[in-house]
Symmetry: C2
Subunit: 371 residues, 2 copies
């Protein structure tokens, strides 16, 4: 395996822009960090865009340069997988607002040559999609064979199909939703308040000092609970104690689930920027595809020739099956081609990232059948 295969082709584009934003402002230049796998076919018909989730990155199928961990979706993307560099030209870009090389609050503002921090414009899911479209123009990719995403990646996939219907042949939306509900917003707001309550946050201007690690860790812990099912937590941890025979009658991590959550919080702050967490959760909370189309979700897909595949998991309570079904109803009402399956898994929302032969079969079948 060559260096490039193992680490992917880590690339970076500095696009002149300007990128017009839903909030009214614009961004120029637009930095986009991305990876590609495979080769664009002569007719350009084999491009697959993969969209990542809230805290994901462009390292979908190759080693993460900072953590040394394998790509986050090697179960779906790679040799012999449903999305295969032998057949597809695979693009995965770090979303706008994130912190892995694309423009975000930690980027330098060209005007002040200091990090944007909270002067970075508030962005939307559609803004992320527009930035990805600029990247594809830059790469010479016209029409996508497929756009594929789970969780926030699924929101981008839906937004792609609604914003650039002529550029999307197939759209795969996994464990996702067309809008954030009040409960989704509430959990994100807790996370944002946890970050902003940390005195080290300093109104976002912490880049010369220590980051608000404690606040961000609490935010991650709260969010992490929503990624797992109650049954999954019980199966994995139950009430088992952490390396002890008896309760400590203190406030250390007595239970394994406490220790696990603390670890999730602490390890997260090493790889993620707190301001990016604020901006991306805000973009997700703002997401309501129906609202962008006159209040009727079906309008987002009217006359679309895109073929859609939706997958939900029965124990996902963050974006439950009912939300996928709502999208399918809208697709049906719009006359768009849609397949939908609810898969069974004990692992809640996180199931889309875990080993799921059924998920792989569904995606593989959908991508091949539509070819």
């Amino acid at each position: 395996m060559s260096h490039d295969q193992r680490f992917g082709l880590q690339r970076h584009a500095r696009l002149p822009g300007p990128l017009r934003l839903d909030g009214g402002g614009s961004l120029s230049p637009v930095e986009i960090a991305y990876e590609t796998y495979g080769t664009l076919s002569p007719d350009g018909g084999n491009a697959v865009l993969i969209c990542h989730a809230l805290t994901g990155d462009q390292h979908v199928a190759s080693v993460h340069p900072r953590t040394g961990k394998p790509g986050w979706w090697t179960r779906m993307v790679g040799e012999g997988r449903p999305i295969d560099p032998a057949r597809h030209f695979i693009v995965c870009a770090n979303v706008l607002g994130s912190c892995m090389g694309s423009s975000g609050p930690a980027s330098l503002d060209p005007l002040t040559v200091k990090p944007f921090a909270m002067s970075f414009p508030v962005i939307t899911i559609r803004d992320m999609v527009r930035a990805q479209a600029m990247l594809l123009d830059h790469l010479g990719v016209g029409k996508l064979a497929a756009v594929v995403g789970g969780s926030m990646g699924g929101m981008q996939a839906l937004s792609w199909a609604a914003t650039y219907p002529e550029r999307v042949a197939r759209c795969v939306v996994i464990a996702s939703t067309a809008r954030h509900t009040a409960q989704n917003i509430a959990f994100h707001e807790v996370g944002r308040q946890a970050v902003m309550a940390d005195p080290k946050w300093q109104g976002g201007a912490y880049y010369d000092d220590e980051p608000p690690a404690a606040g961000l860790a609490v935010a991650r812990m709260a969010a992490h609970i929503t990624y797992l099912s109650e049954a999954g937590l019980t199966e994995k941890f139950g009430r088992r104690l952490q390396g002890r025979d008896a309760k400590s009658f203190g406030f250390d991590a007595d239970f394994q689930v406490e220790s696990y959550l603390r670890h999730q919080g602490i390890s997260f702050v090493d790889r993620f920027d707190a301001n990016s967490y604020l901006y991306i959760t805000r973009a997700m909370d703002y997401f309501d595809l129906a609202e962008e189309h006159g209040g009727r979700l079906a309008n987002a897909f009217k006359g679309s020739a895109t073929r859609f595949c939706l997958v939900s998991f029965d124990t996902d309570w963050l974006y439950p099956t009912a939300e996928s079904r709502r999208v399918v109803h809208a697709l049906n009402a719009a006359g768009a081609a849609a397949s939908f399956v609810e898969l069974s898994s004990p692992y809640g929302h996180d199931a889309f990232l875990l080993d799921s032969p059924e998920l792989n079969r569904v995606v593989d079948g959908f991508l091949k059948a539509a070819a």
Copy 2:
């Protein structure tokens, strides 16, 4: 209405103890703040103990002296209500570890004449119950006509029936559980970490300075989401914006649900001690009635002559119906008399505190039928 009727009989007992604690230590003296309503009958057979929830207090049916708000359960307790001072001698005591007058981390340690802070012993639900038993001894109440509680109050009611079966004629357990699950523990741990991440917490020794209000507010916000159902949040707030026509594209509270949660967090810190929050959540996480009885829940109720009434709400995802059913199965296995009903409500866990004629009918019928 007299002063005493409006404000209840605010009372305070300083009991010599010692109170032996599950953690191995003991407490002496034991301070208990409580209220009573009605009069103990000559045969002593009309006493009802009401146990409050995590952030509740003794002001069950009379004005809260600090907030000026009416009692927290006037729908259930009062003239013409299922628990009626005209018929019952009603006792409600602030739980051990709390901050409304009973011994807790904010109390003065008699040895140092400073607040205990984190040197207060870690307590259990059973310790709270033992303290209540000491109070009842002090009040001359032998056997309870009923012990009644919702949420953590229900845990105490179950613990009462298991610890002092001969003192409990009837036991009413509403929206509660016989153990904290991994998910329950996880949410509490997020709250504790939010408090402890606040630099103002100072290892608990903040009583001469400002309290860790920001951390406690975040803890309350996270917990509050678990008290409401997804459907209830959608009905109450949906994606409605807060006093604006359009999104702000900033980080103020754009959505009504954000504003509501922030208010819940901020108003909570005015009435609650952060260290008490740590201690009481810990007691709840430690609660597993089966574990205290050789790992078999039915053992907790073996040979019990107490009559039980369990009520759950269909949208309560904090202590879902399955947890009540588990208790009922154990009661059946132990040969104890148990009635059980799942009520329908859109309001999630909080339903037990809200207007519910059905709940009132169930409790009223149970208390009268068993008389």
